[in-house]
Amino acid sequence: MRGIISAAGYVPYRRLARSDIAAFMGGGGGKGTRAVASHDEDTTTLGVEAARLALRSGGGRLPDTILFATAQPAYLDKTNATAMAAALRLPADTGAYDFGGALRSGMGALATALRGNDSTLVVAADMRDGLPTSGDEAAGGDAGAAVLVGDGPEVLAELVGAAAATDEFTDRWRAPGERTSKLWEERFGENRYVALGQDALGRAMKAADIESGDIGRLAITGMHSRAVSGLAKKLKLADGVVVDDLTSSVGQSGTAHPLLVLASVLESLAVEGAPDGTVCVALHLADGADALVLRTTDALARWQPARPVSEQVGNGGTITYAKFLAWRGQLQPEPPRRPEPARVSSTAAHRNEEWKFGFVGSRDKSSGAIHMPPSRVSMQGGAVDEMEPAAMADAVGTVVTSTIDRLAYSPSPPIVFAVVDFDGGGRFPVELTDTDAEEIRAGSRVEMTFRRLFSADGIHDYFWKARPVRAGG
């Protein structure tokens, strides 16, 4: 039995109210909210956060391969999935590959993994931009999603049918290096996508040997919102079958979106205690259509999602439109008058990969003292080279004391900083993120999150920060 072993979405903390766009610009925007990645997040970090959640609820299974899809890669030429593998501490014999560029690549990576043989972690993440007041700006969203695919009795949802419909037409396009897309007249795409969606879905159902009435949940996703809603209407399925596509709360998150909604569907079925054998269909419209038909198994009832998408959606914090524009480079506020950091040393970063990417300190075997960064000589007792690795990325801690630095360089000042004591030992003074300064005080509970601190000379500085522990976020 091959299928999905675990799945998770990651919705960044900030939400932009679409009505703020019109209030600021005099036009644009709309109803609802869109998720906004923090200034210290990129598609790699969004993907890492989703993958951490998927692995945490994946019963300890590690993948043979990690595939990463995004239309907004942090690097070109250099594989982004390698940073993810490092952050997830996957063994060196894990294959790590990027599916880059196109919005179809997330669904494509998942379909490929489901049809493959080895255990594969499919990660997709995107940050969607549009020019101020554009439909893309309001409709877009930032998110990551990860699906662990493999074989065995832990499979929650078995693949029972799949189909692709590919068509060459120019509806949405973006030249390399540009942040925003261009669109053809909307009716053309709608016409194509509705037909392609029907075609792919029909053939996938046939392959799965089911009728449309057998479908328990249908997740239709795609950047073309009129095509998505038009297709949903045309299929005339029973009420409640076509699921909320999260565009009103998260926004359309590009390559990540079909995986994000699928993860959300599986999570809600698990929470609801849906009967075994519920048929879930993911149908994604991008340069054609891809349909995956999955049937839930008895393992779903035992599955415990680490942090369901619905909880994350409900636990966001606000961001002003002005700050959103600044974070996206559409507005350039005066930077702090401090020297910008130098680029990271590639050799030093590689030497310290376990620390920098994995947040692994060292624990003195005799005293138990935890050293972050890892140290060869113990601060207690002075033993030399008597350390074992201390994995701290999943540790939760308590703020001992904190401060706000209004002087230090930051891409988005001020810096909120805290001294954190971790449950089970270890102290680390660390920058906080996804927080408003007033929120942090002695006693605040925090957890670690993988972030991009800054970039210099095109090299991204990935490391860990702490963020408040919030239900779902």
């Binding site: 008058r337 401090r338 020297p339 950091p341 130098a342 990271v344 040393s345 030093a348 970063a349 030497r351 310290n352 620390w355 920098k356 003292a369 935890i370 050293h371 972050m372 960064p373 601060m379 001992v400 004391t401 904190s402 401060t403 706000i404 630095d405 209004r406 002087l407 230090a408 360089y409 930051s410 810096i415 900083f417 001294v419 004591d421 030992g425 270890g426 102290r427 680390f428 003074p429 920058e431 002695a442 601190l453 500085d461 990935y462 490391f463």
Partner: protein
Amino acid sequence: MGSHGIYDKVAIVGMGCTQFAELWEKGLDDLIVDASTEAFTSAGIGKDDVDAYWFGTAQSGMSGITLARPLQLANKPVTRVENYCTTGSEALRGAVYAVASGAYDVAMAVGAEKVKDSGYQGLNAMNPPGDGTARTLTAAAMFSMVAPAYAQKYGVDEETMAEVLASIAVKNHANGAKNPRAQFRREITKEAALSSPRLAGSLGVFDCAGVADGAAAAIVVRAEDARNYTDKPLYIKALSFAAGSGSGLIDPGYDYTHFPECEAAAADAYAQAGITDPRRQLAMAEVHDCFTPTELVLMEDLGFAPRGTAWKEVLAGTFALDGDLPVNPDGGLKSFGHPVGASGLRMFFECWLQMRREAPAERQIATVDRGLAMTHNLGGYPGEMVSFVSVVGSELG
């Protein structure tokens, strides 16, 4: 093994100190020449009479050439030192030990920093290439965590704590106002200190040392030779140094209410100097008041007040110019700014003036007859710090 000190073996016989300020018209070379020339004149000697030089600068230059070229020294041994914000003290340490060892008859320490050429406010460290995981927090933010930790531990309410810190700023600015070499020569009110814009945590502009260019210099000889140069030498009673392991940053036992490196340096210096009651034996202390909570905590680390009581002593005026133990009678880092290479030697310069009764009348301390003065200089942050302490005296024995 042991720290034996060099009690009364070496004496300072000449000093110089520039004004500390934003000296736009002066380069590093000018600062070096000004401070050195004043020191040579003070000791009544020339540059060729000095056998060896120690030059302290944190990041204004590299190697002994940075001193040798502007002074046109001919093949003298010149050592450049750096030790965070204790760099100036470190230069003196090298010179003093060189004389104490018998290697040289006359040695000179020069400390200088040209800070205001960077184009940025504040001090900005130039770090070696790294893996990108080091903290980028300012010193102000790191030290700002001391104030709430202290207040909580000793039950000082927020308003009182703010008043304590403001009192330290008011005192040091009042002293600096009487000092022509200080960067800031205006007294401030407690209200001004309390209402200044916040920079880091609860620390406002007036809680932080200024940023200035400056240089200072000292000439040292064997104690028995001192009176060949001056009638009023300053004898070195103790020099101590403590470099922390940095474990305070990651040790859950550290509570940000004291600086163990400073306690260790003070204990060593007091042992060397035979001091058992610093509050009453010392005539004055120059301490590293980079931020107001730093000075507060130092009053306890250096043994001037029992733990948890310095805040009351501050409010009582114990450390004022006319108090029981004047602290930073020259105005401190608060009034002088902090040209890193020079600050440690600037502290000695105030001891030089005060203990020789050469400070201006409005600043001369009444406690001078106690005969002993201390300088304390630190670098780094709470949890990861270096600390220097010296004791100097106006008499032998």
